[in-house]
Symmetry: C3
Amino acid sequence: MSRIESRLASLGIELPQVCPPVANYVSAMRSGNIVQVSGQLSTHANGGIKGIVGDDCSLADGITAARLCAINLIAQFRAAADGDLDRVRVLRLVGYVQAGPEFFEIPAVMNGCSDLIVDVFGEAGKHARSAIGVYRLPFNFAVEVDASFEIVD
Amino acid sequence: MSRIESRLASLGIELPQVCPPVANYVSAMRSGNIVQVSGQLSTHANGGIKGIVGDDCSLADGITAARLCAINLIAQFRAAADGDLDRVRVLRLVGYVQAGPEFFEIPAVMNGCSDLIVDVFGEAGKHARSAIGVYRLPFNFAVEVDASFEIVD
Amino acid sequence: MSRIESRLASLGIELPQVCPPVANYVSAMRSGNIVQVSGQLSTHANGGIKGIVGDDCSLADGITAARLCAINLIAQFRAAADGDLDRVRVLRLVGYVQAGPEFFEIPAVMNGCSDLIVDVFGEAGKHARSAIGVYRLPFNFAVEVDASFEIVD
């Protein structure tokens, strides 16, 4: 078993099946050894976390939502790296948090994603990051994160 | 006539003239064979589509606005690829929709852009994508989309 | 003294010390000769510029805030380019302006960043750009800008 798969197992994380988007785009595009991954929402098999952080849902909910985005990203990394997560080096995450009018703790929410990525990938998970509070997200999900990563030979 | 130009003609699409931005930036920057294209607004020769989607303008208007962004992007692709659209392979689009408070159909809006890109470029138009609902866009335009693409030798 | 450092000195700009982020991400990630720089807020040593542009603070404040982001970006460029700003070629900036409900002058704000970058780097500062008005930014700062640049050998 690969190093990263073992790490996921020890954290009790089971990656979701990845499905192609139901629209005219794809989950990931590779050019050279760089892969761009489409924005992943805070979904899970039974629905996911929706709402406006600071209004409909709490900071803690937001952090959990960002963690769901990380899990969905890792599933996309695996698919785009031909199943081999040990070849993934994360480069950059952009986190979009659906924020209420008085909610400015956007980095704390995004840490839910960054922490899991670094927990799973270690040094290869260190990434540049931007985090912003957006007005509305697709289908009212609380958080969306997109990514780019390098496939290491 | 090139394959992509023929396709544009058969769709009845005439690309706008591209003008350099009236500020200290450029419409596209190339590094190696990767080109980053500046955010394109939902403009056309007679103005374009403005307003907040879900408030001032409808979902259908939003889709049309995103399609305008696609047309403007393709014009920029052509300029950046020295006039040869057959060498363009789209990598990634990020769509920013000026959304009203109850408007969450952001992917449906962005499909107006993605659908045209894939319609025009076929396989070479398949892209990774993020779509978010932002609060305000330059000059109140309804949609902005930026892109990166690869120049194929 | 390097060409760019001389230019900074002649503009009276002293770059801040860069500190690693206090979370699980890094300020910049390099892959090949491309560097992605994390979002830089409108901070300076004594605090920075906070507030919603068009509400709590003026267009002029917003422009100054975007200029602060540029200074912070340049400091990150230097650190990521092993101290040699003469090797930096800017590729792309994305500007996030915390905008009030009636504020659409987002490009004018972002010019505060673009103008300084081009003033400092000249031709090597020409960049692709997207500028959007977001709802909320980390800790209520007025502007955030992220960047990618190329390290020239």
